[in-house]
């Protein structure tokens, strides 16, 4: 009995507040928009029966998504922005993780804390901080003009570049931590063995360190890629009107256009796109867990 309650409480909670809402999204994505409140058709009613209800559902919203190239472009541009910023985060994060792993033992807890600290601070505030830096009269332009690197202020805010910077900045800890964990586990005598066998420092790095930190690289990349794909805050605060990201489109579809069925259809497709990287990520984690025995 006790065991039953133990299972039932969280189970029912998740069913009611995760699975059922999700089923509602699925259902509304198949409904028609209506000028009513709630603004969609059909409403389920027991008098008409399930058959009549189901017969009114259709894939019209999904067809609509394929005909309006706004959605196509938004999906593709989300994928592109997520992919580019993941690569950028890797290039910024790897040297930091590598430096941390080679730092003296006594510094490492502090360095770890310094990487984790931003993670506990508000995401919104960290994104917001860049608005002041990147704007026309922002601190970056002030510094660059003052040093004479440029004579005209650069337009960075409200472009995709600002979005890249924002993603790299906010998701950097997610990249650093798994890579650092992989490098930290790496047995230092392996590098010495490689050098003993005739590798130069550099080739030992490419032939031993990089391949052995690959699980960390893969894990970190997915941890950046997956949330970036559905990101809303960064494109809406740092991106411009030209920055198309699906999370932002969904938000606007819902709050500005009040088209719930289309917003739901957008959500369903976003989820379908996400399944592939999530499954790949899971596989990578499992492999790693098995390799560690």
């Amino acid at each position: 009995m006790r065991r039953f309650l133990l299972i039932a409480f969280p189970y029912v909670w998740l069913l009611a507040l995760f699975l059922i809402p999700f089923a509602i999204v699925l259902k509304i994505s198949l409904s028609d928009v209506a000028l009513a409140r709630p603004p969609y058709m059909p409403q389920f009613s027991w008098d008409e029966g399930i058959g009549a209800f189901l017969s009114q559902l259709d894939f019209e919203n999904f067809t609509f998504l394929t005909t309006d190239d706004l959605y196509w472009k938004a999906y593709l541009s989300s994928l592109k922005i997520a992919a580019i910023s993941t690569v950028l985060t890797l290039f910024v994060g790897y040297p930091i993780a590598y430096g941390m792993a080679r730092a003296p033992e006594a510094w490492r807890p502090t360095l770890m804390m310094l990487v984790i600290l931003p993670f506990w601070t508000s995401f919104l505030i960290r994104v917001y901080a860049w608005r002041g830096i990147l704007s026309q009269e922002g601190y970056l332009n002030q510094v660059l003009m003052w040093t004479g690197v440029i004579s005209e202020p650069l337009t960075i805010l409200n472009t995709n570049i600002a979005v890249y910077i924002g993603v790299v900045y906010t998701y950097l800890p997610f990249m650093i931590l798994p890579i650092y964990a992989a490098l930290d586990r790496l047995d230092g005598s392996l590098i010495e063995a490689a050098e003993d066998l005739g590798c130069s420092r550099r080739s030992a790095f490419w032939l031993v360190t990089i391949p052995l930190s690959r699980p960390g690289i893969i894990a970190g990349s997915f941890l950046v890629f997956i949330p970036t794909l559905g990101e809303f805050v960064i494109p809406s605060l740092l991106g411009g009107s030209g920055t198309l990201m699906i999370g932002k489109v969904l938000w606007e579809e819902f709050f500005n256009n009040r088209d719930w069925p289309v917003a739901s259809a957008v959500a369903i497709i976003l989820l379908l796109i996400l399944i592939v990287p999530i499954v790949l990520f899971q596989k990578n984690q499992q492999r790693q867990a098995e390799a560690e025995g």
């Binding site: 189970y11 430096g99 601070t121 901080a129 608005r131 950097l172 959500a267």
Partner: protein
């Protein structure tokens, strides 16, 4: 002994500068006299005073704290239960679905979670307000709590629980007297994580909040969309300050615990 090459030193310095400069600038400019945030016009704390008189912000902060407290507390209870079920529950009907529902919200884009919960609340005819935000936050943060707690439970020596049963505990007593005190640090960090997630959340709160209750992130978001303001800088500084103090206290106490463990180790060896 340091094996740091010049390259390592440069990448660490630049890396941490990149991580911390934006926040540092924010903090510095929160003490700027000028209304124009990008022009330095002398030191002043007047924006903190403005902030303290801003009723809307104070109300939102109070709502946010209450939401965070209730949602993280419920999430900790439910998440710990879920973790225990996942690690110790054995087989039961729908176990795969259950573990799927625990992990899915971790990777679910916030816009989708928010949208789906909003549609549920509308379907139920629930008035949007503090209650709905608490329900929404509890749902996703219980999954984080459950991951944190279950990773501790996995390494938990099961024979400790068996020893408790062997010495006459009922299963519930064994949990209360043995398991819970030992996994308490993980439960506490789960609670802290849930609390911060709730404090920070903008997207899900935007979907589930109603006109009667606005949270601080929603307020900040609508303010910063229009531009950078010194008042928001001041608010950010306060929030960064609180988190920094918290994290530093936490890391000092873990360091203390480590030093104490080493001392205990030496003591054990001496008496051997």
């Amino acid at each position: 002994m340091s094996r740091l090459s010049p390259f390592n030193v440069v990448s660490l310095t630049l890396g941490f500068a990149f991580l911390y400069l934006p926040m540092l600038i924010l903090i510095v400019y929160s003490f700027n006299e000028s209304q124009l945030v990008t022009v330095w016009a002398g030191f002043s704390t007047k924006w903190y005073g403005e902030l303290a008189r801003n009723e809307a912000f104070l109300d939102a902060a109070w709502v946010t704290l209450r939401v965070a407290f209730f949602s993280s507390t419920i999430a900790t209870v439910l998440g710990t239960m879920a973790a225990y079920v996942l690690v110790r529950g054995g087989r039961f009907f729908g176990r795969t679905l259950f573990s799927g529902m625990i992990y899915a919200p971790l990777v679910m884009p916030e816009v989708i979670t928010g949208l789906s919960l909003l549609l549920l609340f509308i379907g139920l005819g629930l008035d949007r307000g503090i209650l709905t935000i608490v329900l929404a936050h509890t749902t996703f943060s219980m999954c984080y709590v459950s991951v944190v707690v279950s990773s501790r439970l996995v390494t938990f020596d099961r024979s400790l629980e068996e020893a408790a049963l062997d010495l006459g505990c009922s299963p519930a007593e064994a949990f209360r007297l043995v398991t819970l005190p030992i996994i308490a640090p993980a439960v506490i960090s789960g609670w802290l994580l849930a609390f911060t997630l709730s404090l920070d959340d903008l997207v899900i709160a935007s979907f589930t909040a109603g006109p009667s209750a606005t949270t601080l992130p929603i307020k900040i978001f609508s303010a910063v969309r229009l531009g950078v303001t010194p008042e928001i800088n001041a608010l950010s500084t306060i929030m960064i300050g609180i988190v920094t103090v918290g994290v530093i206290i936490a890391s000092i106490s873990t360091k203390r615990a480590r030093v104490k463990a080493e001392a205990d180790e030496r003591m054990a060896q001496r008496t051997a």
